[in-house]
């Protein structure tokens, strides 16, 4: 599969279909890979593919440093391809400006990443070219997809508060979560705006709660649960639980899952008259 990827990348660079290939390269230790940006056909051997390819490379579609390398071919797993669909829907990229090199995937991470346990996109749902044997995207039941939340949803109000306060107290406001997130693409994040200062930039209890809640909320109905925020958090806050909770609510209330089809309407920019309002008085 690595050979096939390299061959494909080489071809795309040689025939000038793209200027750069966003892919995975060997990391600083065997248990890690790192993003690589291949601009010369002779460098394609730097590309690799293994179970440590956890990154969602689509985040580099938003960064000016990598955008200026020219039209990219981007290696995406099924989950990453969902991000591409959201980015297309949100008009952040144009379809013709990116060449999608899909890879089929049995799961990444060691131990297997949580996101892979309930994967229903082993084969990307959007691609220009597919590398690897096509796999069936078996539907995973709703309960199973959100099973991770059960133990937290069961907690009492006080326990929930204490659990999250303990988690948020660790936050150092490094913003790795939002910088890594391919869907956090605002030029200037709400936390960087100070007129007014909606979110305290200090890493104290108050600032950390408003930051983490807002970050998660801004991804409501958009997050495809690639878990990158959680993976990169240097203080190990289970951020994806928040994202997943929102995804669950969006799916439950609006019957919507982001990144499955370019034809869907975005959940948070539309409405239905029959939307739930049971909690309204």
């Amino acid at each position: 599969m690595i050979e096939e990827l390299r061959k494909k990348a080489e071809e795309l660079l040689k025939n000038d279909t793209v200027k750069v290939v966003f892919g995975y390269g060997e990391g600083s230790v065997p248990e890690r890979t790192r993003p690589v940006f291949i601009t010369k056909p002779e460098d394609v051997n730097k590309l690799t593919w293994n179970k440590y390819c956890v990154y969602n490379l689509t985040t580099y579609l938003k960064r000016q440093e990598t955008r200026k390398l020219g039209k990219p071919a981007i290696i995406v797993k099924g989950c990453d391809a969902r991000t591409i669909i959201v980015l297309l829907k949100e008009c952040q990229i144009k379809r013709e400006d990116v060449y999608i090199l899909g890879v089929t995937c049995d799961g990444v991470g060691d131990p297997l990443a949580t996101k892979c346990e309930s994967c229903d996109v082993h084969t990307p749902r959007i691609y220009d070219d597919l590398v690897g044997e096509k796999k069936e995207n078996k539907e995973v039941p709703f309960e199973e997809r959100y099973a991770e939340l059960d133990e937290y949803e069961k907690l009492g109000e006080k326990e929930k508060w204490e659990f999250w306060q303990k988690q948020f107290s660790k936050c150092i406001k490094c913003y790795a979560c939002s910088n890594m997130c391919p869907l956090c693409f605002c030029d200037r994040c709400i936390v960087e705006k100070n007129q007014p200062q909606w979110i305290d930039s200090s890493a104290h209890a108050r600032g950390n709660l408003s930051w983490n809640v807002t970050r998660a909320y801004h991804l409501a109905g958009r997050c495809i649960n690639c878990e990158e925020c959680q993976r990169v958090c240097p203080v190990d806050i289970p951020l994806n639980l928040l994202n997943k909770k929102l995804a669950k609510e969006a799916e439950k209330n609006f019957d919507y899952r982001p990144g499955y089809s370019v034809d869907d309407e975005l959940a948070m920019s539309t409405y239905k008259e029959e939307d739930s309002q049971e909690f309204f008085k």
Partner: protein, 165 residues
């Protein structure tokens, strides 16, 4: 007045912030006033053009600044002055409310309602309802405690916590 006189001593008086749409609920509250209807005086109203313009951050900010409870209220579905603002708002609260609940914030502290310009009576009921409910819950101490910055809240992991040695 009668309520105030009947008030038991040291009874907790919650601070309620109400985010109201200009066209329906605010007018409804106004109607309650012109109709000389009495309701508990714990509410501070913030008038906005439309519930669709209420960012969830407003709610967070209200708690940060000491609110014990929040009411968000606008036009009934179908009645929005801007056609669909309240529908969009409803979507937002449909996900935001569970998120807060998931983080351990009692959903009873945030209430949502549709009150039209003609429903002065419903306004009175709603306010009395939320004030009583939040009074029952007590002050939102767990959130308000977050507000003290300085050595005492820089986290357990910090040498700076505790008293001067």
């Amino acid at each position: 007045m009668s309520k105030a006189e009947a008030k038991p001593e040291n009874q907790f008086e919650p601070k309620i912030i109400a985010f109201l749409c200009n066209w329906c609920t605010y007018a409804g509250a106004d109607l309650a006033g012109t109709g000389r209807k009495e309701y508990q005086a714990n509410v501070r109203i913030i008038k906005l053009p439309c519930t669709g313009g209420i960012d969830p951050l407003f709610l967070i900010k209200a708690f940060e600044r000491g609110a014990d409870g929040i009411l968000v209220s606008g036009c009934h579905p179908g009645d929005c002055h801007y056609n669909s603002g309240n529908y969009h708002a409803r979507r937002r609260w449909n996900v935001f409310r569970p998120l807060l609940e998931f983080c351990g914030i009692n959903p009873d502290r945030i209430q949502f309602s549709w009150i039209s310009a003609a429903e002065g009576g419903k306004w009175v009921e709603t306010i009395n309802g939320i004030v009583d409910a939040v009074r029952e819950l007590g002050p939102f101490e767990s959130y308000q405690k977050l507000n003290t910055i300085g050595p005492e809240t820089t986290g357990e992991a910090t040498a700076a916590s505790g008293e001067t040695g």
